[in-house]
Amino acid sequence: MAEVFVFATLNGLVTGLLLFMLASGLTLIFSMMGVLNFAHASFYMLGAYFAYTLSTYIGFWGGLLIAPLIVGGIGAAIERYGLRRVHQSGHVAELVFTFGLAFLIEEAVQFFWGRDTKNYQSPELFDFALFSLFGQEFSAYRGFMIAIACLIFAALYFILTRSRVGIIIQASISHPQTVANLGHNVPLIFMCVFGVGTALAGVAGVIAGPVLTTFPGMATVLGSIVFVVVVIGGLGSLPGALIASLLVGLLQSYAIAADVGVPELLNQFGVSFDSSHPLDDLWTLNLPQVAPVLPYLLLVLVLIFKPTGLMGNREE
């Protein structure tokens, strides 16, 4: 039992921190521009694909350095020539634009890289077990993922709260006009924040690509979950995003690991049902089956009872 618990926790931690890498950029962009970037997971996918192509020429580390830069550049260009234009038509148009972007990026990835799964591997440097517990090994690459995510959180938190750039960014969130009057180029700041946010998604893609496989559907797999995370955490709150990422990651991981279901629960009360009942599916429900539903259930519940999210203070 302890063995299952420890590994579920570790796996949940890895998933949660990966989610956080995406959610941090998304929530940064939201707090700045008030727009939820539907295409955020698509930038994550672009990161993985660019890194895959780069890794065949200059190796994994080159990909890790350059792919996020390319993704960030693309993101900044999209903000400059796309989003800024749509901004005049209101929030719904912006949301619809990013939705279309997600659609287009997925098609474009299939166009340039094809529909098949890419053989994107983690570097050989990490081909060893970091430690082994209860006879199971924890790969070094997963440890590396955890380290990178923690590094990103620390760096972001430091920059946003302690540096001059962070002060200007925070000021542009709440008082864009005053910041502009002080002589700062607010649209440029917006563009850079969007670029940095998408580059963060790119980093997540580079790192997650080898573990979660690099294929055209990888954005869809993670896309809506990241949304769930930022909404649960509270739109625009970085600590909220961290808490919600870990929460969702651990919740899913525990649910998959726990092999209990309705029959066991009912047996506790001495109730059992005939298996030929029309509602059979309901009686035989177990937790691993329900795992994919849980984040969405949590999302709906949070939105109904606390629309601002766990740590958010922003309401439209």
Binding site: A93, F97, P307, E316
Partner: protein, 411 residues
């Protein structure tokens, strides 16, 4: 309503005559799809266009209506219930309405991003649970039915697609009429008011939540009707019909057609169905074109195709629409060159060892000449559009300048 009688008559006549004009198997099948998608897109417009609620999970009502309809077909086939299949869309509608009443009771409290997120969450929730409840949703394979059982309707047993088309056309007409009438009711008018300024609507004493709830339920009802028609037409339904793909598709239809206009989603549904059925035969890349078209629409035609047509109203009233024809044509020539070149480039880069026949030319991926021709074509097109653009702009400004009585132009 009286003034619009000719329009509705024309609509009905068009519905009756269309299968006579396009009487091939493919033609009828496309028309059948159109009846489904038009109803669905119109119902979506009740939410987004008229009520200002951006939904990423509208397919839930469509799909649930469809699933229940297929189950109803099976119950008819098993002779458990006696029911005419002509009324199946009502079953779908009832299910869609029930689902919307339940979900709308908590999701319509807020509009904007919160509503959009709840709709997304509910959509994913239903999709995920559809794989759990394999009895009702049939797992990944879906559920199949047969529409030919049950009491025949005046001797019609719906063996042929043409017969199904007329059933669909009837429901399309009825649904469109009711959806139009809904926009004229106080509830429909208030939906617009709540969309534009919820605060003011609250001040006059309306509950914005209630107004949104009514629109939401109506939209769910008609989405269910469309789902019922889908069930009759295809005789099977899968999890794909209630997932984000279908929700996204209806959003694309409504947006490309034009949200602000009643006719917009009809235009969008027709365009997308045509693209889906015809273009997919020619190119594997049609989804890429669709994505590009959608983004361009959002960027440059925020009011969709219908909005683009309506933009010419002032020019029409000024009786200067004619002055626009020549500038349009001049820009259209390089624009179509650009389009042809671009499509050629996309297609050629995806041919591999194959060759691409391009307006009589056989182009191969290896020959530099092929790439050169296409690149030149695209370049010339882009340059032409850039050069002729200012002229079009000037003509546009002139055509929209109000003509004063003494014959001169006034600003």
């Amino acid at each position: 309503m009286k003034k619009q009688f000719p329009i509705w008559l024309g609509f009905a006549l068009a519905l009756i005559l269309l299968p006579q004009i396009f009487d091939t198997v493919l033609g009828i099948s496309i028309l059948n799809q159109m009846t489904i998608w038009i109803i669905f897109a119109l119902s979506y417009n009740m939410l987004l266009g008229q009520g200002g609620m951006l939904s990423f999970g509208h397919a839930v009502y469509f799909g649930l209506g469809g699933f229940m309809s297929v189950h109803a077909l099976n119950l008819i086939a098993d002779e458990i219930i006696v029911f005419s299949i002509t009324l199946i869309p009502l079953v779908g509608g009832a299910v869609g309405l029930l689902a919307a009443v339940f979900i709308g009771s908590f999701s319509t409290r807020k509009s904007g991003t919160v509503f959009a997120m709840i709709s997304l969450g509910i959509g994913e929730l239903i999709v995920a649970s559809s794989l759990i409840f394999a009895d009702f949703f049939g797992g990944e394979a879906g559920v199949t039915g047969d529409r030919t059982y049950g009491p025949p309707f005046f001797g019609i047993e719906f063996l042929q697609d043409a017969e199904v088309y007329y059933l669909g056309a009837f429901w399309l007409f009825v649904a469109t009429l009711f959806m139009y009438l809904f926009t004229q009711t106080p509830a429909g008018r208030m939906a617009n008011a709540v969309r534009d300024n919820p605060e003011r609507a609250e001040f006059i004493g309306y509950s914005t939540r209630r107004v949104r709830f009514i629109s939401f339920c109506a939209a769910g009802l008609f989405a269910g009707v469309a789902g019922g028609l889908f069930a009759i037409n295809y005789e099977f339904i899968t999890e794909e019909n209630l997932n984000a793909l279908t929700s996204g598709r209806v959003l694309l239809m409504a947006y490309i057609g034009g949200l602000g206009f009643f006719i917009g989603p009809i235009v969008g549904a027709v365009i997308l169905t045509l693209m889906n059925s015809l273009l997919s035969n020619y190119s594997e890349m049609w989804m890429l074109y669709l994505g590009i078209m959608f983004l361009l629409t959002v960027l440059f035609l925020p009011r969709g195709f219908a909005g683009f047509i309506m933009m010419h109203q002032t020019a029409w009233q000024n009786r200067r629409l004619g002055t626009l024809i020549l500038p349009y044509l001049i820009t259209a020539i390089p624009a179509s060159l650009f389009l042809a070149g671009f499509v050629g480039l996309v297609e050629l880069s995806h041919k591999g060892d194959d060759t691409l026949s391009f307006f009589g030319l056989i182009l191969g991926t290896e020959s530099m000449l092929s790439w050169g021709i296409l690149l030149t074509l695209t370049g010339i097109g882009a340059l032409g559009v850039k050069l002729s653009g200012p002229r079009l702009d000037a003509a546009w400004v002139l055509a929209n300048t109000v003509r004063s009585d003494n014959g001169g132009d006034a600003q």
